[in-house]
């Protein structure tokens, strides 16, 4: 059937047949002019690919968005867990100066308690007659001191720590004495900026001999800004 070209588009044209039907034909622009007469055929009928492709495209875009959101949220949770401690710590540095005073009070209170404990323990050790009692306690600000190297504890133990990668606190104990064996517990407490206790980790050291080294990793959580070390035990 014959038809006349009414409108040209990029990859099709709209024609009107002699009997008044409007059709799209698969004839790209640049071949004919408007008003040219052509023969229409079903072979050249323009099939809009966009319907199916568009639908698929929309679906794939939706899937992609969902995947991206999922990945981002997983990453986000991980990020907040892992990296926020340091960021918070950075932000809190100004506050920590002010908070240093209450921290000191806390420390004193803590010390009082431990003194009692150590007294009890020393009492026990006296009974057991197991050499020199060691009791040590100190709080370290992780922001001001990201690294401590060889804190001497009664010439028996040496304590070091270092923050690796912002979140990983590597703690190390070494027996620096020449002949004393240490037995006891080491209590590591992480504190928030307001000196409230976050977590406590107890490392038991039994028959810790000279030159022996113990390393413990501690993952820091968001908001943890200081570390309290308590050592209670005997060296003999």
């Amino acid at each position: 059937m014959k038809a006349v070209i009414m409108e040209m588009h990029k990859d099709y044209c709209i024609v009107m047949t002699k009997d008044g039907q409007f059709l799209k034909q698969n004839i790209p622009a640049g071949v004919f002019e408007i008003g040219d007469e052509i023969a229409v055929s079903k072979e050249y009928a323009y099939e809009p690919k966009t319907v199916k492709v568009g639908w698929l495209k929309n679906l794939s875009i939706a899937y992609m968005t969902m995947i991206i959101v999922a990945v981002l949220s997983i990453f986000g949770v991980w990020y907040f867990k892992q990296y926020l401690p340091l960021k918070n710590a950075d932000l809190l540095t100004a506050d920590t100066v002010e908070e240093a005073a209450p921290a000191a009070i806390e420390e004193e209170v803590g010390e009082g308690e431990t003194r009692e404990e150590s007294a009890e323990e020393s009492g026990l050790s006296m009974e057991a007659d197991q050499g020199e009692a060691i009791s040590f306690e100190k709080t370290y600000s992780l922001i001001e001191e990201p690294k401590v190297d060889g804190e001497n504890i009664n010439d028996v133990l040496s304590f070091s720590y270092e923050i690796i990668g912002g979140v990983n606190l590597q703690v190390e104990f070494r027996n620096i004495s020449s002949a004393l064996i240490f037995s006891g517990d080491i209590k590591l407490t992480t504190l928030f900026s307001d000196n409230s206790v976050s977590r406590t980790k107890i490392i038991p050291l039994e028959n810790f001999e000279p030159v022996q080294v113990v390393k413990e990793p501690v993952f820091l959580k968001a908001g943890e800004t200081s570390l309290k070390l308590e050592v209670n035990g005997n060296a003999y």
Binding site: D19, F32, E33, I34
Partner: protein, 234 residues
């Protein structure tokens, strides 16, 4: 409604009135694009391709310099558009090679060519030109009704019987001037009146509203190409 004045008379009458020149140019924009596209051999888009700016100014130039002695306006305009595009491409290629032929830049090969080319060359397309004018006017008229050709291609009935039924409705409307007047005035199908003289379901008429209007406009505009005035060729 559709103009009864010839395009040639229209061009001569309005060419000093900027507003009406603008209207005519915008009415013939698809024609200008199709001529330029055929010359370029590719799709061109207004506002993107320079060829169409050249085409538009060539069409304006054709309007300004048209004279009835030059034959039909559209053939003349097509010739001017083609010449200006050849000129444009030549300048582009010169730019590419560097300006070693600067002496030729100032002369105007087109005006000379327009005079020298035999009128015979573009009289051949007389019938095409008549169709183009009809199509442009038809498109403009459809646009006033908010109907696009794209839309018509989508909703145009595939079944011949249904198409024939709608065309019959359109013929009835055109035949009865009171119905045609009502349609033109209200832009709604005279469903009640149609119901009295035809047995077509109201719902069916409502579904085919756009196509029926397009057919009425084709009949009123006297689209010579389409064979819709007679009873469906049966």
């Amino acid at each position: 409604m559709f103009r009864r004045q010839s395009l040639e008379d229209r061009v001569i009458e309005i060419r000093n009135d900027n507003d009406r020149v603008g209207w005519l140019i915008s009415e013939f924009k698809p024609f200008i694009a199709s001529v330029a596209q055929k010359r370029a051999g590719k799709f061109l888009e207004y506002g993107v391709d320079d060829e169409l700016s050249v085409g538009l100014s060539a069409f304006k130039e054709a309007m300004d310099s048209y004279d009835k002695k030059r034959g039909k306006f559209l053939s003349f305009a097509r010739l001017v558009i083609n010449m200006r595009l050849i000129d444009y491409y030549r300048k582009q290629s010169k730019k590419g090679k560097g300006k070693n032929l600067s002496l030729d830049d100032d002369d105007d090969p087109v005006s000379g060519l327009i005079d020298s080319i035999s009128m015979e060359q573009y009289r051949v397309n007389d019938e095409n030109d008549k169709r183009i004018i009809e199509i442009m006017e038809y498109r403009t008229e459809l646009r006033k009704w908010g109907i696009t050709l794209e839309q018509l291609a989508e909703i145009s009935p595939r079944q011949e019987a249904l198409r024939e039924q709608y065309k019959e409705v359109a013929r009835e409307i055109v035949k009865h001037s009171f119905m045609l007047r009502e349609l033109m005035k209200t832009k709604r199908l005279p469903l009640k009146e149609l119901g009295e003289i035809m047995t077509v379901h109201r719902k069916k008429l409502e579904r085919g509203r756009i196509y029926i209007i397009a057919m009425v406009l084709a009949m009123v505009g006297n689209l010579s190409y389409v064979d819709i005035h007679r009873g469906g060729g049966r």
